[in-house]
Symmetry: C2
Subunit: 413 residues, 2 copies
């Protein structure tokens, strides 16, 4: 009997752990007894539509050093896409093409590693498979630094981003404490609708530093007068204030604080400001104090040299679990992680029907935020702490981390 093959793709925004899940899938197929070749679709689902496929047995599998390097490399070895499949009731041509490709390559299982939007693709492909009576397993593997997927305890990529944010806040605190003059530093952290990653800034606190001294998440409404009062009353007690904010903070009407009116730069072109800049200038205009804002930016999702080993291991395990699920006949599902104990921290892997996950978002519970809406509570710290533990042994060459080469992404040179 001919062994079936598998296909895997990556989609959405980068994280530090999405290649660890890919490595887990490749390893899972490698040790499975029922699957043969693992194909990689380049640039998400687009690779199938454009016939841009890699044979991962050839590029990765035969060399386990590659597998370990892949596990530690940021962003996506297979590239990504931001592509929303149409509803197949309106237009099933791309579905037709995808499943003909699956058949041609004798695919038994398709794995899609991604966030919320990618799970929409998993849902649609699952529904289509059911409709045409295909037995191809369709399994989603989560990833997002936003940590906003339903049902699963947390998402691969989040723990590493949280570690990077917390370490950066600690380093910014050291940078800030050196001057004996009053100052305010605002640090803007990714997370448009969910404040998980901004909350991780609280992990920077230790025996000698309470920074960040204020934390604002998008789960509560931001009130600029209350904010200015928070800053003023802290400035009476201490010199340096460090504030962590989500990029998605908004007022009671839902308007983002970074909405910004049209602005002109030195070339006379219009600009928009981020939330951090907006608060920097709000303070400048209202309180006589030195103030600056720092946007951590894309490094929080791609600085693989400071990953959480827990995150990488769990991402890898979720890739392997996806293969196991497919072998067991599970389809139309996403791999999940359940926390079975917090001290000691233990988890179990499972799965949930994709229809309960796609297109929903998990936000920080209001009861994990203090009443004033300017800090997080111990429940949040307890939830976050295990996720940033452990450091991978990063290999350096010529002074820089060694990552998996991506020259097959034709646009990389």
């Amino acid at each position: 009997m001919n062994k079936k093959n598998c296909m895997v793709a990556q989609s959405g925004g980068p994280t530090v752990a999405i290649n660890a899940s890919l490595a887990g899938v490749i390893h899972g197929v490698m040790v499975s007894e029922i699957y043969d070749t693992i194909y990689g679709s380049v640039n998400g689902i687009l690779g199938i539509l454009n016939d841009n496929l890699l044979n991962l047995n050839e590029t990765i599998r035969k060399n386990t050093d590659n597998l370990e390097t892949l596990k530690q490399s940021p962003a996506m070895y297979l590239g990504s896409c931001r592509f929303k499949l149409p509803d197949f009731m309106d237009d099933d041509s791309s579905y037709n093409y995808i499943f003909r490709q699956f058949e041609k390559l004798n695919i038994g299982a398709f794995f899609y590693i991604g966030g919320n939007d990618s799970m929409d693709t998993v849902l649609k492909l699952s529904d289509y498979a059911k409709r045409i009576g295909s037995d191809i397993r369709i399994i989603g593997i989560p990833k997002t630094i936003d940590n906003d997927l339903m049902i699963t305890d947390h998402t691969p990529g989040f723990g590493s981003a949280a570690k990077y944010v917390a370490a950066s806040l600690l380093e910014i605190a050291h940078d800030t404490f050196i001057y004996a003059v009053k100052s305010v530093t605002i640090v803007e952290i990714m997370g448009r609708d969910a404040g998980w990653l901004t909350a991780a800034a609280a992990l920077a606190r230790n025996e000698y530093s309470n920074a960040p001294h204020l934390i604002y998440l998008p789960e509560t409404n931001f009130d600029k007068d209350k904010f200015l009062n928070d800053v003023r009353s802290l400035l009476e007690k201490q010199n340096n204030i460090i504030i962590a904010i989500s990029e998605g903070i908004h007022d009671a009407s839902g308007s983002y604080i970074n909405a910004g009116e049209s602005q002109k730069d030195s070339f006379g072109h219009s600009q928009l400001s981020g939330a951090g800049k907006a608060l920097e200038y709000l303070i400048k205009d209202n309180i006589n104090v030195k103030v600056r804002s720092v946007e951590i930016n894309v490094l929080q999702r791609c600085a693989a040299h400071l990953s959480s080993q827990t995150d990488l291991d769990e991402a890898f395990a979720q890739g392997e679990t996806a293969v196991t699920l497919a072998k067991e006949g599970i389809t139309a599902s996403m791999v999940t992680i359940q926390r079975t104990s917090n001290t000691p921290y233990t988890v179990e892997y499972g799965h949930a029907e994709i229809k309960n996950i796609a297109n929903e978002a998990k936000r920080v519970p209001r009861e994990w935020i203090n009443e004033a809406g300017n800090d997080v509570l111990p429940e949040m710290i307890a939830y976050l702490m295990p996720l940033i533990q452990g450091e991978p042994q990063v290999t350096y060459k010529n002074g820089l981390p060694v990552y998996m080469e991506v020259s097959h992404l034709s646009h990389c040179r």
Copy 2:
């Protein structure tokens, strides 16, 4: 005979290596046979003026673990200041006070770790010591991520910042290459007048990535039309363009590109834009392509978890050298480093008269920049490469790097 004591202080902006020089001074005094106590002046020269002194024998010296942790900790254990001593011909009251303090504490040598402005303080104290016939040795120990001090081959703190910038550029490249759509990413790097640190972005290039594809330093005039042409012609050949720019790029008239006109944010307050944002909007307005800008910001000078071991070792050695120089009777000088060979990389430590260093700035030689002014040449790479080599063994606790606690900086809580 009573042994003399020493005093040390730190000044100017933070770097990752300035505490390594402090550790070197403390160790140098510890193993010297002629010096006893090493006092730390908190917040630079202000600590002497405000009687805010630490006995470093008590807080650091007796525990060598502390010395190693201190060597790896970012920013300043002793805090910093931005304080310019007046000319003593105009007002010698603070000089009077400082030297009375020195006498009271039986100080034989004063070490000041800092950048350009701090060397001005070393010069003034040296001149004053000469004038009053004091035999107290006054020695400057360089540090600055800008690498713009005269005479010395390079400055402590620069190598680590260069390593962080190069690693970040590599990680941003991985983050960028994943999408099969044309895009431009602009990365703004610190360096108002000198482009050394921005040039280090070129170290991110490897076998599979040429990013950054364009590099603009403040040593050449920035021309927006030439810039747009550079971007347009690259976009004809490739999908993703990554551009490194100094925050200090300026046009032929000397006006900073980030000068910016008054802008309004969502609260109606005026804002200024950085060079990265200005170029982002210049491209948006002229070329139909996805574009974003990233400001690496303060992390490039405080992310001690990604230090260069070469940099930390050299910073430590320069601290030790300062003590040796003082013992030999040298004064009115700054410690220097000379590169005696590049392959293999070897250095020697020396000193130079402070009057030849203070208030001067070393810029990137024009012949290390290509003629078009949009890249650096192999001479620059050869100069930079040895400086980012080696990684310290960072200690982690609860998932975060362990740094020297700074609770004596009263404003840190």
